[in-house]
């Protein structure tokens, strides 16, 4: 069984991202970057499936600038077998990413595609679902457990009301939620070994994907600063303020 895992390069979770002074977008020029945490969970799951003998090959694919190779290397150090970088300097929207992944699916015919449920930069939560529509593969989002039985997979997903179990025919697309697993650390020996694993570099033109953005970013600005709170005397005052000042109840 072949598993394709998508990994995205994003600003590290510790970083307080700021808007550029001309408001044209987030300022990432001087920021530590890392692999998207949900993608890391996807890589971990794929590697565990390989260790259990369910998967035979794990391919990590990233779409982004040349330096996104760093995140592919991390995936290789975590245990993926080879990497594919689709190199582009365009700020890619979920649809363009999904179209690129669709091309890779056509080339590689994976049995499963694992993606993070969202990336912590745009928090779009769209790519997996769009890839599902484009490929026609079965899909399950927000997975907290994946098990296999021959040609089908059973996925427990986290939904608002609790847990839902889906049976999927392969090939399938699964997006990962936080509780699916606790990713291992990329150990130093594995970082060094990952250097020998191959990374193919492709372009969006080679894949024939139109990556022109469909939306326009008008303005990026920081959220308004929260004002200091006050202490209310009693419930009556609270209700009064909620009604007449905050206007959140009528």
């Amino acid at each position: 069984m072949k598993i394709l895992v998508a990994v995205k390069r994003v600003a590290d979770y510790n970083v307080k991202v700021r808007a550029k002074s001309d408001q044209s977008g987030p300022d990432l020029t001087n920021v530590k970057m890392a692999i998207n945490p949900f993608c890391e969970i996807a890589v971990e799951e794929a590697v565990r499936l390989k260790e259990k003998g369910v998967a035979t090959e794990v391919i990590a694919v990233s779409i982004g600038p040349k330096v996104a190779q760093e995140q592919i290397r991390t995936a290789l150090a975590l245990g993926a077998d080879r990497g594919i970088l689709i190199e582009t300097d365009v700020a890619m929207e979920p649809l363009a990413i999904a179209k690129c992944l669709k091309q890779i699916c056509d080339k590689e015919s994976p049995d499963m595609v694992l993606l993070g449920k969202q990336a912590i930069d745009g928090d779009n939560n769209q790519t997996g679902q769009m890839l599902g529509a484009l490929t026609g593969y079965a899909q399950a989002t927000f997975a907290s457990e994946i098990t296999f039985d021959g040609a089908s997979a059973s996925v427990i997903r986290e939904v608002d009301g609790g847990l839902q179990t889906l049976e999927l025919k392969l090939p399938a697309i699964v997006t990962t939620d936080l509780r699916l697993n606790e990713p291992r650390y990329a150990s130093l020996p594995n970082i060094m070994k990952a250097k020998k694993k191959p990374i193919d570099v492709l372009t969006t033109e080679e894949l024939g994907v139109d990556v022109t953005p469909r939306t326009k970013l008008l303005k990026a600005e920081p959220p308004a600063e929260r004002k200091a709170g006050i202490k209310v005397e009693d419930v009556a005052q609270l209700v009064d303020k909620l009604k007449n000042e905050a206007k959140v109840i009528v």
Partner: protein, 392 residues
Amino acid sequence: MALSEFDSWFNQPLSPLYYNEDHQAWRNTLRRFIDAEIAPFVDEWEEAGTFPKDVYKKAASIGLLQMGYPEQYGGIPVGDPFFAVVTAMEQGRAGGGGLYASLNSHSIGLPPILALANDDIKERVIPPVIAGEKIAALAITEPSGGSDVANLCTIARREGDHYIVNGSKMFITSGMRADYYTVAVRTGGEGAKGISLLLIEKDFPGFTQTPLKKMGWWASDTAALYFDDCKVPLSNLIGEENKGFSGIMVNFNMERLGIIATANALAMVCMDDAVAWARERKTFGKRLMDHQVIRHKIAEMTKRILATQALTEQTAWQMQQGQTPIVELSLLKVQATETLEYCAREAVQILGGAGFIRGNKVERIYRDVRVYAIGGGSEEIMRDLAARQLKL
């Protein structure tokens, strides 16, 4: 990369001038590992004056203890000094200096063994230590002095197939918990040419230890060692008799680079925490940060940290090229600990009373400053060494 709006020193990318993908990946691994396994417990372990032994095994599980050792002993042969810089920076970020001193005591205990010992000793000692199963220490300093290494007084004389060792060692990191001690003793005449290194093991008869209480580095195990007619088999001689001094010297460059990068990382922590505090805290109707006196303290910290970082990376690069930049390393060690001293002092001032109360990184780092300025070659000795190298 040019500084702009300040967030944290540790959220900046590594300079592509010096660091490659492997350094980045290692940095990310350490960041996650330390945030999960170490940072949440640093205060608790400092107060307890120790830390659990399983931290050694955990550190070995990501390859931290094996870094720089040959594959045949289970090591990961990365000789590149930038791995050491990245490691020191990430360890410094959590601000738990004492813990790392003990956790990494093998990094001064093993190199003399690797450089000089016979295969028997290497094969017996190195693998379990870098796997986190055994602890190694280095014992050079004596109650009578540490700077003047060539004049140490612990005596070892031959008697049959043993050495009989008498004397004591002082301020030894991992002194209580180590299994293997690389001990400098006098076997010959005066000066550097009479010094040998012996592998002394925990349960050898005549060998005892007592713990020492310290100003800082509380989580680190520091002890005085006593040898009273301690019997050491001749086969535990590391290298040749009276040729141990060179084994002591092999440590210095990497040890100093580690101290330099750690000191500057701790200075960065002080500045990060001072900035965060001064942005929040209001006095006299405005943010602390809006008082010029405070802003200028931060600017001064930035100036010193930047200069130290630039020279650290340049010096690491020289080492990577195979050079031995002794003048740079000695003076940079002074600059790094002076930068740390300044930043720790000013950060405590900016935090005010809160900076004097236990349980925050700045208070702890303030107490740790002196050990970096004294250990691994004191500021005075470093200046003197540089001056001698320059043949002034």
